[in-house]
Structures are given as structure tokens and as C-alpha cells.
Symmetry: D2
Subunit: 108 residues, 4 copies
């Protein structure tokens, strides 16, 4: 799914509260830091740095992304369980949606 497809997502609601709304500033800072880490990896490759050092940096990025993922999942789950997540309200649909996320997380 790319950004363009997502523009038309049926889940889009202006001004709705998201699972990450209360920590949005912190989340954006984490993402900006990860973007910087990715640029650092590009510089390492351009400079012909040792494979293992490049891999170590990529692992650090994966770890940072995993923390962001788990934080987003936690916020989403709390919203589902409390009952105003902006997503499906049927427990079976909510379960299917959350399991879709978890399966994607565990698959990479």
C-alpha cells in the first residue's frame, strides 16, 4: 500500500482522535531520528564501509521501528478496547484488524 492509496482510505476522519494522538510530538521525533539513521546508512554504503558495521546500523533502525510499531499497536488496542478508535466497532472485525497488524509485525 503506498501513500497515494492511503489518501482514499475509508478510515480517514478529520480531527478524530488516534491511538497516538497524545504522544504525536514524541512519535514524530522518533520517526525523524529514524530518517536520519537511514541517511547515515546511505553514507556508510557510499563510503564502502564494512558490511558488518552497515548491518549493525540497520539492526538499530529495525529496533527503533519495532518500538514505534509496538507503541502504535498499544495505543490502537487501548482505543479499540475503550471503544473510540475510529476503526470498526464490531469485536470480530476489530479482532481481525488487530490480528492483521500482529501478523505483519511478526512476519518481518
Amino acid at each position: 500500500m503506498d501513500s497515494e492509496d492511503l489518501e482514499n482510505s475509508p478510515n480517514e476522519l478529520v480531527g478524530v482522535s488516534r491511538g497516538y494522538t497524545s504522544s504525536k510530538g514524541d512519535l514524530l521525533e522518533r520517526i525523524a531520528k529514524i530518517e536520519g539513521q537511514i541517511r547515515g546508512v546511505a553514507k556508510m554504503v557510499e563510503a564502502d564501509r564494512y558490511c558488518v558495521d552497515v548491518l549493525t546500523q540497520i539492526s538499530a533502525i529495525q529496533g527503533a521501528l519495532k518500538k514505534v510499531e509496538l507503541g502504535l499497536l498499544e495505543g490502537h488496542l487501548r482505543h479499540c478496547l475503550i471503544g473510540h478508535g475510529g476503526g470498526p466497532t464490531d469485536p470480530n472485525e476489530q479482532t481481525a484488524e488487530v490480528m492483521g497488524v500482529v501478523k505483519r509485525i511478526v512476519s518481518h
Copy 2:
């Protein structure tokens, strides 16, 4: 480990062939694409997009990073086994180094 520490890595050798040297252009393109994906996630968060859509994009990034990781590991391993990787030449040290990489990959 951050970029500054790596500047002084004992493994740095100017002009040495790396496991990724033959596919360096392709590797840099993949990393640039991932950087763009990260910026896309930041825009989604700024626009208060639905948690599950943000998570789907992050999973796509994790998958792309995993492909880069496995490609780098494969090149590194081939270099180790053929015998001119720019790293340790002792089989026990090579094994320890590769296992360190694998353990980091499986941990995230």
C-alpha cells in the same frame, strides 16, 4: 553504535571490496526508497491518519529493510567463505562475527 564511532572502526580500509560492492548502486537506490517511505510515515502521522494504516506502512519498511539486511549478509558471507572480506580471517572469529549479525537480525 553511531556514525561517529564507526569513523574509527578498525575494519575501515580505503578501496577494499565489500560484499555489496558489485550491487552498490542498487543498494543505494533501495535505501533512498526506504528513506522516502519513512518520510511518508511522518506525513501520515502529521495528518492524523488511522493507526492501522500507519502500521501497515511501517511493516512495509521493515520488510524492505529485512531484504537489504539479508542481501548484505549474503554478500558478506560469500566474501568470508571465499576469503577476502576485509574482516577477520580466523574461522572462529568469522563465525562469531556472522553469528552476531544473525542474532541481531532475529532479535527484531
Copy 3:
């Protein structure tokens, strides 16, 4: 946590419906099959089978265990969201409990 500790779990309630109650027979069959696969691995090691073949069998077992895990998580989640899981009823506690499970799943 070993079986003995679990005997005294505060969550134990006789006759309560679990997330897996409706598919208990199928679940027990899957677990019995996994037990057989583990015994198969022991036989392979006893017979000095090739490392890579042993590793392939272990990966099959890990895949089977992951399916069992995800199935149990799905049932548990549905019970939480519908509201009679036999666990905590406070959404924050439910979220913390589910996130604990997810973090353990993604850590291995």
C-alpha cells in the same frame, strides 16, 4: 514460568470459557503433532543427521508453534473485546496484558 508456578495462577477459574474453548480438540491435535516433530528432531540428532536438515525441521516446528500462538492470541483478543475472557476487565490492564503477549511473540 514453569508449570508449577502456573498451578497457582490467579487467573485459574474452573469451567470458565477460554479463547480456545471452541477449538480445543483441534488445538490439542496440533500440540500433539508438534510433540511428535520434536521427537523426530531428537532422532535426527541421535543419527548424526546433517545440520541443515535438522535446522529445516526445527523451522517447521517454529512455524507450527507460531500458528498455535497466533490462533490463541486471536481467541484471547476476541474474548477481551467481547468482554468475558476470564482476565482483567479494565481496558488499560487488558491492553498491557495483550501487549505483553505480543512483545513475547515478536521477541523470538
Copy 4:
């Protein structure tokens, strides 16, 4: 791949040293312990134990299997790099074989 297929594996050589030969007793003990843990999970399900407790036990098993996997991979890799693993001797084939193992490990 099941045990029967493996009986006819081209990699089978009687009396050959494997990557795990020096620690075979320890390896068999670990596998026997995991078999006992699997039986423990079956008992928990039969006793209608709480989902989260069952999941915690399964995660412990997955962690134990991962340690066995990484130990086997390490032994195999050392054998490949030293040069008498009983597998392929061509570095490209060795690399492909090891990468196949790593990809299976990271996929679950």
C-alpha cells in the same frame, strides 16, 4: 520435509562429524526438555488454563528452540568456514545453503 524424506537426503554420511557433534549430549538434553515443555502446554490446554498463561509457556518454548537453532547454525557455519561440514564445498553453494537457513529462522 518430513523424517521419511530426510532418510534419503544426499547429505547423509555415516560417521561424519557434524557441527553439533562435540555438544551432542547437551543438544539432546535441550530437545528432551523442550519435548517436556510441549507436553506441559497440552496439559494446560486440557485443564482449560488461561490463554495468556498458555501463550507465555509457548513463548518460552519458542525461545528455547531459537537457542537450539542458533547453536546449530553456529556449529554449521564454523564447519563450513573451516572446511569439513559434510555439505557443499563451493562457497556459492555454501552461502546459498546458509542463507536458506537464516531466511527460515527470521521468517518465524
